[in-house]
């Protein structure tokens, strides 16, 4: 049976040696080569077409995510496992979206290493409990965020100003009424127009009426 060929991408040699050491006794895994950044990884992966690529995220020249984007599109047979210290949800999300098959933290145990490799080779994706929870949280957040982005968000202050504009108050009067500076009113007005994608007060009031901020008589 052919050995499973591994490419390690990390700008620190110590990691390469550590993993080599860790898998020394596991005969079915063979660490083929080692690259120090995304660019080198792409070149070497194209040559050797490894079964598994361990990819770090922060690297000089080209980071892991960029490299994953290229490699996942090009080499469908190579499985990509992110091996990193970063455990931020956003990075997990971006890496998985770029095409990574697994996400492994560097403090993982040997068992987790082997389990992750087995999972991705069998065509599954691998995330441990912690990383999968973070990934789900983030996805939910993003969903929430996208939904609220589709609604137009106006702050309390912005709504107040729209009402004052509807009352046909000048910027001076609005500033006086709300006890804020004229410049602040001007800034808000400009921002409101931009957010609602309107150029005239009439357009602004039309949208404001649609959003039930004001009641047109």
């Amino acid at each position: 049976m052919d050995k499973i060929r591994i490419l390690i991408v990390d700008d620190h040699e110590i990691i390469y040696r550590g993993i080599k050491d860790l898998l020394q006794n596991e005969v079915e895994y063979k660490i083929e080569d080692y690259a120090v950044n995304g660019k080198e990884a792409i070149v070497k992966a194209r040559q050797i077409i490894p079964d598994i690529i361990f990819m770090d995220i922060s690297m000089p020249e080209m980071n892991g995510i960029e490299a994953i984007k290229v490699l996942s599109a090009e080499l469908s047979d190579s499985k990509l496992i992110v091996l990193t210290q970063h455990d931020e949800g956003e990075i997990i999300f971006q890496a998985m979206r770029a095409g990574a098959h697994g996400y492994l933290l560097k403090n993982s145990t040997k068992e987790q290493f082997i389990f992750a490799m087995q999972q991705v080779l069998s065509g599954k994706r691998y995330l441990n409990d912690e990383t999968s929870r973070k990934m789900i949280d983030l996805t939910l957040n993003k969903f929430e965020q996208e939904r609220s982005e589709n609604e137009i968000y106006l702050t309390r202050r912005e709504k107040e100003i729209i009402r004052k504009i509807y009352e046909d108050k000048s910027n001076h009067q609005i500033a006086e009424d709300l006890n804020i500076s004229l410049r602040t009113v001007e800034t808000h007005r400009r921002n409101i127009m931009q957010k609602l994608k309107v150029t005239t007060v009439i357009g602004l009031l039309k949208i404001a009426a649609k959003l039930n901020l004001i009641t047109l008589k």
Binding site: H12, R17, G18, L22, E88, E90, I91, N107, D137, S181
Partner: protein
């Protein structure tokens, strides 16, 4: 001066009194002369009366003698009585001067006549011819004497008339002479006197005239010992001090025109009354085009619009305060010139006039220099910040790379050790746990030093990540919105905005006690706007009237202010106790 005038008056009064006396004396002389004449006329009058009476008596006597008729002494007596009365008159009136031999001769003749007549009358009714002849002779003798007396008197009258005539002549001459002498005296004395009086005035006038023509060395020498000397001394000392403190008009004009600043004199209504050459050069208007125009034509408001200041609503001090400031002025061709204005009240000769003196200094170069310095300073600050960030990045990398990787590698080795079953499983597990904890700590430290998400994925992702993290731990619910933002912007600005938002969030978490907070990022063609709003307790942020920042702003807001100023942005805070807080950050950035 006053003394002299008083003397003059005294002398004139004395002269007038002398004139009155003189004329009185002359009058008195005339009067005596004319009284004499009157007496003489009286004398001659009684004498001639008497002579008439004697003549009549003589005629009677002659008649008697020629007729040789009956004589009636009573007839004669009537004539004689009349003659006697006239004689008595003469006796009474004639002055002693005439009562000399002739008069005595007359008296004797009359007495004889009297005696003879009385005897004749006593002798009988009839008077003899001889008696009549005697009487006639006596009468002739008396008449002769009378004639002498009359002639004498006539001569006297002539004498007195002559004297009188001469006296009139002399009197006229004397008064004319006296008058002429007085006129000449007054003319001469008056001339001298007036000269004496007006000489110092002329000297002063000459002095003033020569000052006017520019001879500032001119002085007035008066040693009259009176007020004029004092006046001259005052005049001289005034000139001395003038010499020290002021300059000629020409000299002043020169100074005015060589002033580096543009000079304007404004009246109460802020209309231009005077300008200097610099004003003309600076604003490109001719003098004529500026005079009597409101200063507003030179003041620039925003966007090249004229600044229409309503000066009529300001009192004098407000006007001065308004001008004493930095302004932008506008030239005829519309060029805008930043100026620093010095404004003072012009001390005018006209009382109650409130003229304003304005000197405008062109500070274009100064502002350019300041801008350059500011720009340099900002570049340096950016560089420092960059260096700081780089240092952080290096530290983070060091932590992440060497320490983290070494810990990782140790963890791998321990795992091998664990496999070899040489050591107690519990002990190895405990070491592995500690290494895990160390790795986590390293990661946390490294992340705090530099947000790896920001570097790898940009502002929006990094802020979203930040907010996701704080929403997990804090009581405040944060929301983040962005509008029209490029995926990646300048990485220095990215870092700055990330740190600004981080500070904003920290402030809200630390102080605001807010339920909700929102962060908005907006980008339009030239501005990047960050709005951080919360509904927390708020604070007294800024005195809007004086635009002064309240002192205890806190290190968080200060660091935001610092970062904003590096990128020439504007930072404003709207906050009131109990009414939440708004941070508005606007940074110029071309999309």
């Amino acid at each position: 001066m006053r003394k002299k005038l008083t003397y003059g008056v005294y002398i004139t009064v004395i002269l007038v009194i002398l004139m009155i006396f003189g004329s009185q004396i002359i009058l008195r002389f005339y009067k005596v002369q004319s009284e004499r004449l009157i007496i003489e006329y009286h004398e001659i009058s009684v004498l001639q009366d008497y002579k008439l009476s004697v003549s009549r008596l003589m005629m009677q006597l002659n008649f008697l003698r020629n007729e040789s008729s009956v004589l009636f002494s009573s007839d004669l007596l009537a004539f004689y009585t009349d003659s006697k009365t006239k004689f008595e008159n003469c006796h009474q009136f004639l002055t002693t001067k005439h009562k000399d031999d002739d008069w005595i001769g007359l008296e004797i003749a009359i007495n004889n006549f009297d005696t003879m007549l009385t005897r004749a009358l006593l002798a009988g009714e009839k008077i003899s011819i001889s008696t009549i002849i005697d009487l006639t002779n006596l009468m002739i003798a008396g008449n002769e004497k009378l004639d002498i007396l009359i002639n004498e008197t006539k001569e006297e009258i002539m004498h007195y008339e002559q004297i009188n005539r001469r006296a009139i002549q002399h009197g006229t001459l004397t008064s004319l002479g006296l008058g002429a002498a007085m006129i000449i005296l007054l003319l001469v004395l008056g001339k001298v006197y007036v000269n004496n009086l007006t000489d110092p005035i002329l000297k002063l006038e000459k002095g003033a005239e020569s000052i006017k023509t520019g001879n500032r060395q001119a002085r007035v020498n008066i040693h009259s010992g009176d007020e004029f000397e004092k006046l001259a001394d005052a005049f001289n000392s005034m000139l001395d001090s003038l010499e020290e403190t002021t300059v000629t008009k020409e000299y002043f004009q020169n100074i005015m025109n060589s002033l580096y600043g543009a000079l304007f004199v404004l009246n109460d209504g802020c209309t231009i009354r005077a300008v200097n050459t610099t004003s003309i050069q600076m604003y490109e208007f001719t003098e004529y085009e500026m005079l009597d125009k409101p200063i507003n034509i030179l003041l620039n408001g925003n966007d090249g619009q004229h600044f229409n200041v309503d000066f009529s609503q300001m009192d004098f001090q407000e006007k001065v305060d308004f001008f004493n400031n930095q302004h932008v002025m506008i030239t005829k061709s519309g060029k805008q010139i930043p100026v620093l204005i010095n404004c003072t009240r012009l001390k005018s000769q006209k009382p109650g006039s409130n003229e304003i003196l304005i000197i405008a200094h062109d500070i274009t170069e100064k502002i350019m220099m300041e801008k350059k310095i500011e720009q340099n300073r900002n570049e340096i600050r950016i560089a420092i910040n960059e260096a700081q960030e780089a240092e952080r990045l290096r530290l983070a990398k060091d932590l992440h790379d060497s320490l983290g990787q070494q810990l990782t590698s140790i963890s791998f080795s321990i795992q091998k050790l664990h496999e070899s079953k040489k050591y107690s499983g519990n002990l190895v597990q405990s070491v592995m746990d500690q290494i895990d904890a160390s790795l986590n700590e390293t990661r946390r430290l490294s992340h705090n030093l530099i947000p790896i998400v920001l570097i790898e994925f940009g502002l929006i992702t990094a802020i979203q990540n930040l907010i996701n993290n704080v929403n997990k731990i804090g009581k405040t619910k944060f929301q983040f919105f962005h509008y029209d933002l490029n995926e990646r912007i300048d990485n220095k600005l990215e870092k700055a905005i990330y740190r600004i938002i981080q500070e904003g969030i920290n402030n809200i978490l630390k102080h605001a006690k807010a339920k909700n907070a929102s962060i908005q990022l907006l980008q339009n063609a030239e501005l990047l706007t960050v709005l951080i709003e919360d509904d927390g307790v708020g604070f007294k942020a800024m005195n809007r009237l004086t635009n002064e920042i309240v002192q205890d702003e806190g290190i968080g807001l200060l660091s935001i202010r610092e970062r904003v100023s590096i990128f020439n942005g504007k930072f404003s805070i709207e906050s009131h106790p109990g009414a939440g807080t708004e941070l508005i950050i606007e940074i110029p950035y071309n999309k």
